[in-house]
């Protein structure tokens, strides 16, 4: 058929033109949003990711030293020029009040650097040279310790892996090798696995609780269904904080549950139900349950009763019919619901922060912790990278298999 058009090449062009106008219109409509998203979402996220390795404020704070220390072999102590450079740099940095920042960043790599720098900074006018090397080492013998210079050299590069490594419980040792941090400092691997573990548990709990009620709703008469749906949606639409707060009231020591149990004489000591892992499970499952039920319900609603009936008429017991015929057909709903619950659980912060103890906090908590309490943005960003990688890889693994259309809610 294409040969019929061979003599009519302009036709194709005309056609493309008409199509192009449509496309341009479409893109024109999308672009304002896309632009806003680009500027206020994608670029910030990209910058945040970059921040996890960005170290450029360090060479900027100690420019001469950063320059000259490149020539240092790493063996023995640096030469006099380097010592001179650092004294000069420190003088300026101290005036500009940048030394604190430098100290903190170096302290992250080697404890003791902060006090070394602040001490040196405070007394910088007492250090007279040349030779600066001697003067500095005399001032504090740490200046004569190669470990400090290794860290300095590493710390004055433009980029650093320090924080990403730290997010995986790794660090550089004295020989610039990557090693595990000591046991008592190791924390993030266990936090990450805890995050995954809690998320999986919540997903399973949501499935266990969500499946029966979704099934019940999907198979009950409209009046019951509507009533149950109203309950579910009311819970769904209620603010996350309200729900978390409610659970604190219900589970605390003199909360509703404990009062009831004590009153009825089942226990005589209040049970510890909140500010621990149990509370996290109870509250998070409550918060995330609708995300499991709604997609499951909509998938179940779309499964006609005929399938199970067919299976029964073919001789299957009700349990066989359920397992072999009904259950497989709910898989898209299970997939969509599980993915949503899992992804959300991975990034949860508020609920565990309020109803969990310190041992129940997940990665998000530490991101917030490093921002709000430590203001170590590089560390926060590195944990952000980890979290993003977790979410992204999960989505890539399962997102394709799960129809996003099944994820619509309400």
């Amino acid at each position: 058929m294409s040969e019929q058009l061979a003599d009519n090449i302009s036709l194709k062009k005309k056609l493309q033109k008409a199509e192009r106008r449509k496309k341009i219109e479409a893109l024109g409509l999308i672009s304002p949003l896309f632009f806003v998203m680009l500027v206020f979402f994608f670029i910030p996220i990209a910058l945040m990711l970059y921040r996890s390795i960005d170290n450029s404020q360090m060479p900027a704070a100690l420019p001469q030293t950063a320059d000259i220390i490149q020539q240092w072999s790493g063996e023995g102590l640096p030469d006099e020029a380097t010592y001179a450079a650092i004294v000069g740099d420190m003088r300026i940095a101290n005036e500009e009040k940048k030394l604190g920042m430098v100290g903190r960043r170096l302290n992250f790599d080697l404890v003791g650097y902060y006090s070394l720098l602040s001490k040196t900074g405070r007394k910088i006018d007492e250090i007279k040279g040349p030779p600066y090397k001697e003067a500095l080492i005399n001032f504090d013998k740490k200046w004569g310790d190669t470990r400090y210079w290794t860290v300095m050299e590493r710390g004055l590069k433009d980029k650093t892996l320090l924080y990403l490594l730290a997010a995986m419980d790794l660090k550089y040792d004295e020989n610039n090798k990557i090693v595990k941090v000591p046991e008592y400092e190791a924390i993030y691997i266990s936090i990450i696995s805890r995050t995954v573990y809690i998320s999986i548990s919540i997903t399973i709990l949501c499935l266990i609780l969500g499946f029966p009620i979704a099934y019940y709703m999907a198979n009950s008469p409209p009046r019951t269904r509507n009533l149950l749906m109203i309950i579910l949606l009311l819970v769904f639409w209620t603010s996350l904080l309200v729900r978390t707060l409610s659970w604190i009231l219900v589970l605390q020591n003199n909360g509703v549950v404990n009062n009831f149990l004590m009153f009825s004489g089942i226990i005589n000591q209040p049970l510890e139900l909140v500010f621990n892992r149990f509370g996290v499970y109870v509250a998070m499952t409550h918060v995330l349950l609708p995300f499991m039920v709604l997609p499951l319900y909509s998938v179940m609603r779309s499964i006609p009763a005929d399938y199970v009936r067919a299976a029964r008429s073919l001789g299957a017991k009700s349990i066989t019919a359920f397992i072999r015929v009904y259950l497989p057909q709910t898989l898209p709903g299970i997939g969509a619901g599980a993915l949503m619950v899992f992804i959300q659980a991975l990034g949860y912060y508020i609920t565990p922060a309020l109803v969990g103890g310190p041992r129940d906090q997940m990665v998000s908590y530490f991101v917030a912790f490093f921002v709000n309490e430590r203001v170590n943005w590089s560390m926060a960003s590195s944990l952000g990278v980890v979290l993003l990688i977790l979410t992204g890889s999960l989505y890539l693994m399962f997102g394709k298999k799960v129809n996003i259309a099944n994820m619509k809610l309400g």
Partner: protein, 281 residues
């Protein structure tokens, strides 16, 4: 799901057992919300039963005190503005996405709804670092923009869904009856997708009203919202005013749900006839 005559005793046990289990799960869902409401009318300061008396004092505190008042005002300003922005941007984009096929459309859609998928902490952190450079932290503008981005995917999804079920023949019908394209849009397209836009807007508003992580990162003391105020309240001093706030939010959720239900009903009225003989296909 009535129990048939031929049910075995095992089936009977399961039948009733299952009912009980479902009732328990629903109880689990609704129970915490029910406990919180009466306590907000408690006259005492303790956050536990039994109630000491009935009073509105915590509501007075919620609506009257400076901090909560400010929080209410902030929530409304931020919620409404970001709702309007998200609705306008999201609707335009949804229309665009439905308008034509172009390469990479799938990816663009996935990108546009990604704020829903990415953990809030990451968004919050990124915006906090980014806004810091431009002085947008601790401003209404920054919060509104952030919440616009968080609310927009809901608008995009609901409007897209409405557009997908929108019959393009209606536009053609309008033109064939002599209406100019502009007229067709305002008289025919808009009224038909309005419920979708409206429920998307409600979603966006609710998202903003419930959001606390981003607010925690980027809002200063004078821009605290209701949930942010609640968050510090829960952490710092569990005052019954929190319960009043919570009750107000529950009532708000109820109203939201009713509105959406009405929208859905209205749609149903138009779309499916009462007495069979349904539309084509």
């Amino acid at each position: 799901m009535a129990l048939p005559a031929h049910a075995t005793s095992g089936e009977k046990v399961f039948y009733y057992g299952y009912r009980v289990i479902v009732a328990i799960i629903f109880f689990y869902l609704i129970f915490p919300l029910l406990t919180i409401i009466p306590l907000s009318f408690n006259s005492g300061e303790l956050l536990s039963y039994p109630m000491q008396g009935f009073s509105f004092r915590w509501y007075e505190d919620f609506f009257g005190s400076g901090r909560w008042g400010l929080a209410i005002k902030n929530s409304l300003i931020i919620g409404l503005s970001s709702m309007v922005l998200a609705t306008i941007l999201g609707t335009a984009a949804a229309v665009g996405i439905n308008r034509a096929d172009f390469p990479g459309k799938q990816i663009i859609v996935a990108l546009l709804i990604s704020p829903m998928m990415i953990p809030l902490v990451i968004t919050a952190l990124s915006l906090y670092l980014f806004f810091g450079k431009f002085g947008l932290n601790n401003t209404y503008a920054g919060l509104i923009l952030a919440h616009t981005i968080l609310g927009m995917p809901f608008v995009l999804i609901t409007v897209s869904a409405t557009l997908q079920s929108f019959d393009y023949n209606l536009m053609r019908a309008g033109a064939s009856l002599g209406a100019s394209p502009l007229r067709v849009f305002f008289k025919i397209v808009f009224p038909n997708i309005a419920p979708g836009i409206f429920s998307g807007a409600l979603f966006a508003f609710a998202t903003s009203l419930d959001e606390v992580v981003v607010v925690m990162f980027i809002a200063g003391p004078s821009h605290r919202t209701i949930p942010r105020q609640m968050f510090s309240g829960i952490r710092e001093n569990l005052s019954p005013t929190l319960l009043a706030a919570a009750t107000v939010l529950i009532v708000f959720a109820g109203m939201l749900m009713l509105t959406l239900e009405l929208l859905r009903k209205r749609n149903e009225k138009y779309n499916s006839p009462p007495g069979g003989g349904g539309a084509a296909k």
